[in-house]
Amino acid sequence: MKRELVCVACPLGCGITVELSDSGEVLSVTGNTCKRGEAYAHSECTNPTRSLTSTVKVTGSTLPVVPVKSAGPIPKGKLIDCAVALRDVTVKAPVKIGDVVVKDILGTGVDIVATNIAEVK
């Protein structure tokens, strides 16, 4: 079985063709222009993941919210659940870039970290 993918690993958006066995094993990856593309193809066909970006509420700051991202990839199927979970998270200023906002979100093993500063009001 063949699967056509658009690589999302970087903005180049290479078209990748993946050949899969009947049991879903990756047999070959073509069309990628870098190693990341190959890794993406494997992951997309076996355990698709995405990074999550959103904001969380911050108190005591000049800003109402501070942007966050997942420190690593999250299983695609859990993206929305994680985004929903972030709606109830509040952090206190000051926040620095890289501060862990949620540890191991929804048992994915991935932390949510701040991607901007939030200074104290």
Binding site: V6, C7, V8, A9, C10, P11, L12, G13, G15, G31, R50, S51, L52, T53, S54, T55, K57, L63, P64, V65, P67, V68, K69, K76, L79, I80, A83, V84, R87, I97, T115, N116, I117
Partner: protein
């Protein structure tokens, strides 16, 4: 009057990279004039990742990408004036006058040997589209919505239609979905999306948001607040096919229908503007036709990757430094670059053949090509002819012309880039 060697207008990714590069090249008195209350420009509201893969080799969010540069300012003596709006640029070689206003300092004239224009771009509004119907609340550009959601922490609505598949529109489709809104459809007038493929995959397809190509909004409904839109497919002349008209209930219409370089200052300064890029005409140092006035980033032409903006702005910063230190070529010999057969534009628009470095020409195509050749010629000389698996209007391409090649080009010729199919 405040005197500087270099005034940089705009503290977004372009202005920051240009100022830092100029400082690195030895320019001692630099000021960055930024209208917002922080450096970073539009990156501050672009909280999604995808920035920095080329430049830093890692995937960063907009604020993280910006912060890498903001941090670098701490080790320089570059002056930064925030909350400061430039209202006029008066070119005068070697002593240009830049007028700015701010709450803190009032109206200030800056006198600068060199100026870097880095004002970025703005989004095309609804009026320019002239959609029929009412004028209710609930219609805004995708970027305005992005600011409301990501900076102010407010939601514009719950049921969303997006017109235009530019990257900001695609990114906002996902963003609004994460915040609990239902994005009903993204309509794109053209038969292809102007956004990056990866954004179509991870912002639309991942969430089963339909992308309708050759489709547009033909009517707005709702008296006070938006209640719905009528969408319809368009024919090859982009005229709506009325039989396909369909009403979609929504409370928010986001527009992502193009970006326009912000060149009011450049125009009033008398700079010549390229009709296609809507930015000034520049040489390989990103110097405009006025000596000592440079332009870089989205004010010059709209980029799809901030990494490219950074690279281009460093060229402008280095060029400005060369000019300020009196090292610039005083007798440039220019030939023009010209895009034909599918190449919409090329930046830089002209090349000084006495340059001492290789030149990278950036260009965009006007339609989607598969397996086509990018052919670069100068007169009868074929400089390169490379096969590309795919070319799309949404993705900026580039070709390099080596210094040892161009130094001997005929002074009366032009450099032509074209697409050869098949």
């Amino acid at each position: 009057m405040q005197n500087y060697d270099l005034v940089v207008i705009g503290g977004g990714p372009a202005g920051m990279a240009a100022a830092l590069k100029a400082a690195e090249c030895g320019v001692e008195s630099i000021v960055v004039l930024e209208r917002a209350e922080t450096l970073g420009g539009i990156l501050e509201q672009c909280i999604h990742t995808g920035f920095g893969l080329h430049y830093f080799g890692e995937e960063l969010s907009g604020p993280e990408y910006a912060s890498r540069f903001i941090e670098l300012f701490k080790d320089t003596n570059i002056d930064i004036k925030l909350d400061t709006m430039v209202i006029n640029v008066e070119p005068d070689e070697g002593k240009n006058i830049i007028t700015a206003v701010s709450k803190a300092e009032g109206l200030v004239d800056y006198c600068a040997k060199a100026v870097i224009l880095a004002m970025g771009c703005r989004e095309r509004p609804r009026g320019a589209l002239n959609i029929a119907g009412t004028r209710p609340a609930g219609i805004m550009t995708a970027g305005t919505a992005q600011k409301y959601v990501n900076i102010d922490g407010y939601m514009p609505g719950k049921k969303v239609v997006i017109l235009g598949s530019g990257d900001i529109g695609l990114i906002m489709a996902r963003r609004m979905t994460f915040e609990g809104a239902e994005v009903k459809v993204v309509c794109e007038l053209m038969p292809y999306s102007s956004g990056l493929q990866r954004n179509i995959v991870q912002c639309l397809e991942d969430f089963n948001i339909p992308l309708r190509l050759s489709c547009t909004v033909i009517k707005i409904h709702g008296k006070d607040h938006l209640e719905g839109v009528t969408i319809a497919n368009v024919d090859e002349n982009r005229r709506p096919i009325m039989e396909t008209a369909e009403y979609i209930e929504c409370d928010t219409l986001l527009l992502s229908v193009g970006l326009i370089p912000e060149n009011e200052l450049s125009r009033s300064a008398g700079l010549q503007i390229d009709n296609i890029t809507s930015g000034p005409i520049v040489n390989q140092d990103r110097e405009t036709e006025f000596r000592g006035i440079f332009a870089c980033g989205n004010v010059l032409h709209v980029h799809d990757l901030v990494d490219y903006v950074t690279g281009e702005s460093q060229i402008a910063g280095a060029g400005a430094a060369k000019y300020i230190k009196g090292l610039a070529d005083n007798d440039p010999e220019y030939i023009n670059t010209k895009g034909i057969n599918g190449v919409r534009y090329i930046v830089p628009q002209r090349i000084n053949l006495n340059g001492d470095e290789d030149v990278k020409l950036y260009f965009r195509v006007g339609q989607v090509y598969r397996k086509a050749n990018v052919k670069v010629t100068c007169g009868d000389v074929v400089i390169s002819n490379k096969k590309k698996p795919k070319l799309a209007p949404g993705e900026m391409e580039n070709v390099v012309i080596k210094q040892e090649q161009y130094k001997d080009f005929d002074r009366n010729s032009e450099i032509v880039i074209e697409i050869v199919e098949g």
